[in-house]
Symmetry: C2
Subunit: 219 residues, 2 copies
């Protein structure tokens, strides 16, 4: 009934599971990613994972719980990629481009046409009527804002931004840029075009720089 941990305890009784829950969740995510939550049947998920419907239900509960788990998994991967890009010692504009390049790698992953962001492409539709999905999406969006804002505050402390720059406002624009890239990628924009878009956005966002060659201290 329940899912066995990957690190098996003392001994495993009964017939051993034929599929790994983590890879099954990944395959399920890929399927939802293409056709959305409502547009994806459990038969399609079963075909993608190689698991039978009863096995899917035994491991994940039901379709809704499976999607929520896929959503949580995606948030984990996506937020970690953004944080890693912003955490390095690169200058602000380079750090932002690393974050957008990481996002583009996710949005253009998989075979066939680009799927964009899993959240923007599938969860946003359900968010209007589904409280659990709404909570997950709202929390993730807040996390993105907070990650960008923290990086802009750091940039301000380092003198990469003028003291009158508004880190919260810049974070909103940085997050908005990521989301418009997600939408456009799914709508068919080419990757190179979206990278240029990101560069243009970064140029404006980082426009609040101190005067060049005027000393490193601010104020």
């Amino acid at each position: 009934m329940a899912r066995q941990k990957s690190e098996t305890g003392p001994v495993r009784r009964g017939r051993p599971p034929a599929y790994d829950a983590e890879t099954a969740l990944k395959r399920a995510t890929e399927t939802f990613w293409r056709t959305g939550y409502s547009g994806t049947s459990l038969d399609k998920v079963a075909a993608a994972t190689g698991m039978s419907p009863p096995s899917l239900y035994a491991v994940f509960g039901n379709k809704h719980a499976l999607y929520l788990e896929a959503l949580a998994r995606y948030w984990g991967i996506s937020l970690a990629a953004t944080r890693e890009a912003l955490a390095g010692d690169h200058p602000l504009d380079e750090a932002l481009m690393l974050a957008y390049d990481a996002a583009l790698s996710i949005y253009f992953s998989g075979k066939g046409t680009a799927r964009g962001c899993f959240v923007v492409g599938t969860a946003v539709t359900e968010v209007a009527e589904d409280p659990a999905i709404r909570n997950s999406v709202a929390a993730g969006l807040r996390a993105i804002d907070a990650d960008f804002e923290a990086r802009f505050r750091l940039a301000q402390d380092r003198g990469e931004l003028t003291p009158d720059a508004d880190p919260a406002a810049l974070a909103i624009l940085a997050a908005a840029t990521m989301q418009t890239i997600a939408i456009r990628a799914r709508a068919g924009a080419r990757r190179a075009e979206l990278r240029e878009l990101a560069q243009k956005a970064v140029r404006v966002i980082c426009g609040c720089r101190p005067e060049p060659r005027q000393g490193t201290t601010h104020a």
Copy 2:
């Protein structure tokens, strides 16, 4: 079989239709708006419009064609609202806020929780696998970019922006701001909060202003 024009020709034969096609399309749009394309059954559309399924098929063809018509109708209303906001004689920052206020009025229209943008909330999910929806969405996104860019070029000509400002880059950020507002509205953000978000974005976007009190001519 086909739809009769509102302006009746010489005389109308046969039983008169009980429902107006335009109001039916509006009601159908409201229904798709909440639960998406795949998540909305034709029975729900029939209940919302008061029409029976055969009548819906007689007027609109099928579910897909009905959704496409709802999408085209929404683009018309949405793009017109943005253009009207940007067309006035207001200063750049006021014009942008008029556009965002118009968008917020749409995103928070209807009863119950906010539905956000019809395109972002329902079409983006389908865009990955549906060529017709993809074409409509891609064209609409290009139109938004073009409308904003035209306004920024005008602002530059008027001296509201410095000559080195990049109208295309600012247009991307302006469009991205509208789309992040759409996402956040559907995810439950309060309207006042999103209006402040818009103001912060406008402040950054309009930051490439000429020096104040330094003459109105540029260069």
